[in-house]
């Protein structure tokens, strides 16, 4: 992407470090075919490296070194990939990063177990922090991770519950709360907090990263949902329109519901109560047209832009004590990258 070479290079470097760390965690023994060979599957498909990038970048920006943040970055990336494996099962998704999802290729049972293994393996690099960071910092990182994982599963439960109960009377408020819990804590807030925590041995204001990470994470999630509707599948790596097929309560769908006519609401509710396998391409196209009619996609783009602007304002506060230089530059640039990315 033009103008974001620095961001992409930085993310790529951090992603490679995290990937090498993940692969090094895999036990030498078996079972390989149905477990350890598959643990590396999603990470090796080339994720964006957002979480390692934010963690390592923040640590460096506050004067820390890569080595001290790397274990935590590896754990964050592995937790993320575990979430993805289970998320794909829960959503019935078919593609991830351009290839069939793990459960589509190996079956539900194997995929769920691989996701479990990834969660378990994530604990080891956090334990390996002990000789590097000492007991107090190690424990503080654990506490950050515990909060992060709990928030993520609670947010996921909210979203899954909406689909299961066919909840249609949702508001922006509901969406923002769910996104905070499901996405923002683990994608942005905690990676930044952990990086700064390690660099400063707890000596900086970690709460300063909450709003920054929240606004940036929400902008990221909205952009992700927009790409799902309008992106280039070759770049995005997932089926376009998959969220409509799944009935996912995106900001766009909530906007449509809050602006549609009673007749349209009735039809939309009926469509969403239909099992995914019985939904028709014709109905999916109709939902697209409805979003176009009410300007829901443009509305979501504007929302992502506003949130990104909010994140940039918060950046000035959260990183006020960071050292000027490439790491701080990267962190500032990543905000706009979040809403202009195509993958």
């Amino acid at each position: 992407m033009a103008g974001f070479e620095l961001v992409e290079r930085y993310l790529s470097e951090c992603q490679e470090l995290a990937l090498a760390g993940i692969l090094a965690l895999l036990p030498a023994g078996g079972p390989r075919r149905h477990l350890y060979d598959l643990v590396g599957s999603y990470p090796q498909r080339g994720g964006k490296g957002l979480r390692p990038g934010l963690c390592i970048g923040t640590c460096r920006a506050f004067g820390g070194n890569t080595r001290s943040a790397l274990n935590s970055a590896i754990a964050l990336e592995l937790f993320h990939n575990a979430f993805l494996v289970h998320d794909d099962v829960e959503d019935g998704s078919e593609y991830r990063r351009g290839l069939p999802t793990l459960h589509a290729e190996h079956g539900l049972a194997i995929a769920v177990n691989v996701g479990d293994a990834m969660n378990v393996l994530s604990i080891r690099p956090l334990m390996q922090n002990l000789p590097l960071l000492g007991p107090e910092l190690t424990w503080r990182v654990f506490a950050e991770i515990e909060h992060m994982v709990r928030q993520s599963v609670e947010g996921q439960a909210m979203e899954l519950g909406w689909v299961r109960d066919n909840q249609c009377d949702l508001s922006e408020d509901d969406y923002l709360r769910m996104t905070l819990k499901k996405t923002c804590w683990y994608t942005c807030i905690h990676p930044c907090r952990i990086g700064a925590l390690i660099a400063t041995a707890g000596g900086c204001d970690l709460d300063g990263f909450n709003r920054f990470g929240y606004y940036m994470g929400a902008a990221f999630q909205i952009q992700d949902d927009l790409l799902n509707l309008t992106g280039d599948r070759a770049k995005y790596g997932k089926e376009i329109g998959g969220d409509i097929w799944e009935g996912k309560r995106t900001l766009m769908l909530i906007h449509v519901f809050n602006h549609a006519s009673p007749a349209e609401k009735t039809r939309l509710s009926r469509f969403l109560s239909t099992p995914r396998t019985e939904r028709s391409a014709r109905d999916v196209r109709w939902v697209y047209r409805l979003m176009d009619k009410y300007g829901s996609i443009e509305y979501a783009r504007a929302a992502a832009r506003e949130l990104a602007e909010g994140a940039l304002r918060e950046f000035q506060w959260a990183y006020r004590d960071a050292l000027p230089g490439p790491h701080k530059d990267f962190l500032e640039s990543i905000v706009l990258y979040m809403i202009q990315r195509e993958l």
């Binding site: 002990l130 007991p135 107090e136 190690t138 424990w139 503080r140 654990f142 506490a143 909060h147 922006e172 408020d173 923002l176 709360r177 905070l180 819990k181 204001d205 709460d207 909450n210 709003r211 929240y214 606004y215 929400a218 602006h259 549609a260 006519s261 009673p262 009619k293 009410y294 300007g295 443009e298 509305y299 504007a302 929302a303 832009r305 506003e306 949130l307 602007e309 909010g310």
Partner: protein, 229 residues
């Protein structure tokens, strides 16, 4: 002026109406950011409540906070974020527990067979020979080392200090040898080490004590006491 809500619900909006809606986006999304800030504060407040409940169950807060009052005041009150207070209490307690775990990983037990007594964590083990030794003779002391952790120890060996009596007489450190000279202990396993002390001829009678210390395992040490006749 744009259509009312009821008008919007009753009929599809024309292109012009959509443009009006788009013009209002800036206002709408500013509200969105404010909403987001408010939601974050609510969630943080809820988190503080939950953390308090956990803390009350697990930690003696007044006791923890009384440990280092200056540091606590500086760290806890600086930004008036109550959640930091709570986290620090939890972490301080947990850090103590972690430190204890690391120290307790390998323990010394006296005797070759199953010990009757375990050494207390944080205290240096004391091993006392029951039978007195004469100058020119050797004494053997079997020790059992138990690794209670989930990881194998690094390869380590022992060394000893001089053995000193109450009157200042010395048995040189080189008089103590260890068999095996180095070892690794698997997770949740125990290994035996025999300490042999050769008492030099002419060593004055008395009670001698020396420190046995493992390299690479700083917490693994014991005081060996022997009586020379």
């Amino acid at each position: 002026m744009g259509p009312t809500n009821s008008q919007q619900e009753e009929k599809p909006r024309a292109t012009g109406e959509r443009e009006d809606a788009l013009k209002n986006f800036a206002q709408t999304t500013s509200r969105l950011v404010k909403q987001a800030a408010s939601i974050l504060e609510e969630e943080l407040a809820a988190g503080i409540g939950a953390a308090k409940q956990v803390e009350e169950k697990l930690f003696d807060v007044p006791k923890l906070r009384s440990g280092k009052p200056e540091e606590v005041m500086q760290r806890f009150r600086r930004d008036a974020h109550e959640v930091v207070d709570i986290l620090m209490d939890v972490l301080q307690g947990a850090a103590s527990a972690l430190g204890g775990m690391a120290e307790r990983a390998v323990k010394i037990r006296s005797g070759a067979a199953a010990p009757s007594e375990r050494m207390e964590p944080g205290k240096t083990a004391t091993v006392e020979l029951q039978q007195p030794v004469k100058g020119g003779q050797s004494a053997e002391v079997p020790l059992t080392l138990a690794n209670d952790s989930d990881a194998a120890t690094p390869e380590f060996s022992f060394f000893a200090t001089d053995f000193v009596s109450a009157s200042g007489e010395r048995i040189p450190a080189a008089s103590a040898t260890f068999n095996p000279p180095s070892l690794v202990i698997a997770p949740h396993a125990a290994e035996k080490v025999t300490v042999t002390v050769r008492v030099p001829e002419g060593t004055p009678a008395g009670v001698y004590s020396g420190l046995l210390q493992a390299n690479k395992l700083g917490q693994l040490r014991a005081v060996l006491i022997l009586k020379v006749e």
